[in-house]
């Protein structure tokens, strides 16, 4: 190689060296969401250590008002509301995370197959999902749980099925356009296998909307699972869960309002966590503008 040719080497553009990070609304939301998520997860993980009392232990003082001993009072059979609230998050979050994880995996597989392969495969997958999609989410979940029984695995499976179509659609839509991008064509012309193209060249490009949608689905799932519990189709007693606590206590709401307000606040906090997180992700990843 001649020296003259060597001189053609351009120096890396200086603009690229200045990597800028402006602290905008998105970053603040993302930070707030992260802190809230940490609170939710840590509380659930270490629930038995944090909770001041055994969540199932009864005591003679029923429907006690908030006091130094029982910060949120006690319920109708004298159980500590705060302890039940802390421990109750475990079941709710376990179901929520497992169900959304399953929906995400199923949605990714179906959405990538459908969007990338197109044609008949796309038709079959999307029409099948349309059937599930046609039912209102809550009605479908209610019917399925009522039919197969409210155990924890059943609840996880039901909610996963109910949210899979929406997830698959969110995956499929950007794949349809990304698969025609130049770098995907370049990968194909290099001779890469289709699986490798999908995983290495298509999936990273569509990750942002999927991440945002996953966070939103988590928020919806918490709502769905607590609503099912409220209607008596949640995880079976005696393990506490937020929806069930609201349901059990609502007849004593006038006597001991904290028995309802406590778990309700927990539901709101957890739901809000994922909504804040989703909005933060959306702003920082620049999705859907």
């Amino acid at each position: 190689m001649s020296d003259a040719a060597r001189e053609n080497v351009d120096i890396v553009a200086p603009a690229a060296k200045r990597r800028q990070f402006f602290l905008n609304g998105g970053h603040i939301l993302l930070g707030l969401g992260g802190v809230m998520l940490a609170i939710v997860i840590l509380t659930a993980l270490f629930a038995p250590l944090i909770a001041p009392y055994d969540a199932s232990a009864t005591s003679p003082e029923s429907l006690a008002p908030p006091s130094a001993a029982h910060w949120l009072g006690t319920d109708s059979i004298g159980r500590d509301v705060l302890s039940r609230m802390i421990v109750g998050g475990r079941t709710t979050l376990l179901i929520t995370f497992s169900a959304v994880f399953l929906a995400l995996v199923a949605g990714l597989i179906l959405g990538l197959l459908s969007g990338y392969l197109g044609g008949l495969v796309d038709e079959i997958i999307m029409r099948a999902l349309d059937i599930v999609f046609a039912f209102p989410v809550f009605l479908l979940a209610l019917t399925v749980v009522a039919a197969i029984g409210p155990t924890i695995p059943n609840l996880i499976l039901t909610i996963a099925i109910v949210y899979t179509p929406a997830m698959a659609r969110v995956v499929r839509a950007p794949v349809l356009s990304v698969k025609q991008w130049d770098h995907v064509e370049a990968a194909r012309s290099v001779g890469m296998s289709e699986t490798r193209i999908v995983l290495r060249h298509v999936l990273p490009m569509v990750a942002s909307p999927i991440l945002v949608n996953t966070s939103l689905t988590l928020a919806q799932t918490i709502f769905t699972i607590t609503a099912l519990s409220f209607l008596g189709l949640g995880p079976p007693p005696p393990d506490p869960n937020w929806g069930g606590m609201v349901s059990e206590s609502r007849q004593f709401m006038e006597l001991a309002p904290m028995t309802v307000v406590g778990p309700a606040a927990a539901i709101v906090f957890a739901t809000l966590t994922f909504i804040v997180l989703a909005n933060g992700l959306r702003e920082t990843l620049d999705v859907g503008n």
Partner: protein
Amino acid sequence: MTSATTPPLLEVEDLSVVFPARRGGAPVAAIDGVSFDIAPGQTLGLVGQSGSGKTTTGRAVLRLQAIHRGSVKLLGRDLTRMSRSELRGMRRHMQFVLQNPYSSLHPRMTIAQILAEPLRVHKSAPENRTRERVEELLTLVNMDPATMHRYPNAFSGGQRQRIAIARALAVNPDFVVCDEPVSALDVQTQAQIVALLQSLQEKLGVSYLFIAHDLAIVREVAHKVAVMFRGRIIEMGAAGQVYDAPAHPYTQMLLDAVPVPDPALQRERLRRAQPERHFPDDETARGPCAFGEDHALSGTSRWHRVTAEHGVSCRFWPENSPLPAHDRAMET
């Protein structure tokens, strides 16, 4: 010059691509009956206006585009009859440099990863030599190997195109389709990339199908030139012949459209009214030709050889030439 002893590297015969009908419309024949050969170490320049089917031809040759009819033979093997996995294996012999270097590189992969990918796919370098080969490739395209851990956004258009060329050359291909490799770059960078492609051809003996609309650049790089119009090759020959003695009026028109580097002369040329040119819309590979003769019926060939290496789409071109006394026309 293709001598009879060296078989062509790439043989394309009667290649046609039809895009399916949009709702309420007829199917569109994007390219129709295209045939050409490329000898080892040679460049065929493919020129024509936008929409004439240049890029589609390039993609169809690489089998990135479904073809309707015809055959593509690379190294004597017919690509149109291969299974998907066989074709993937053949891709180590043929590579692609896309037009836009800003979109043809994966934005979230480093240069090293981008260049290592073809090596891994075709196992053309052992795992422990990958890094060495990546450095070698970057040096080959006059880039600093130290930049290999940066992402594409750290590079200018010209540098990105060098990286794209390095990626194409990673597996030592015999044949590269360059689809307008310089049209997205500024003029000075264009010259650098063209010079790079030429020096790589000398060094590695690779053949190019060089697609471009810039006639001056094609003249610079191509040994043979094919002119496309509405999905057909209407004139093909050695670069000098096509440029200096165009036989088809469409080629003449394209050449006339190139500005001359003399302001006074160029002004004069612009002032002169351009002669009205009509090119028959319905000139297809089948059916009657521009002059109303159905060559298939009359048994004559439509491809007319002006000289041994220079052909034109119909034997009646150039317009004024008398009908050839003895039919020198040959089967396309």
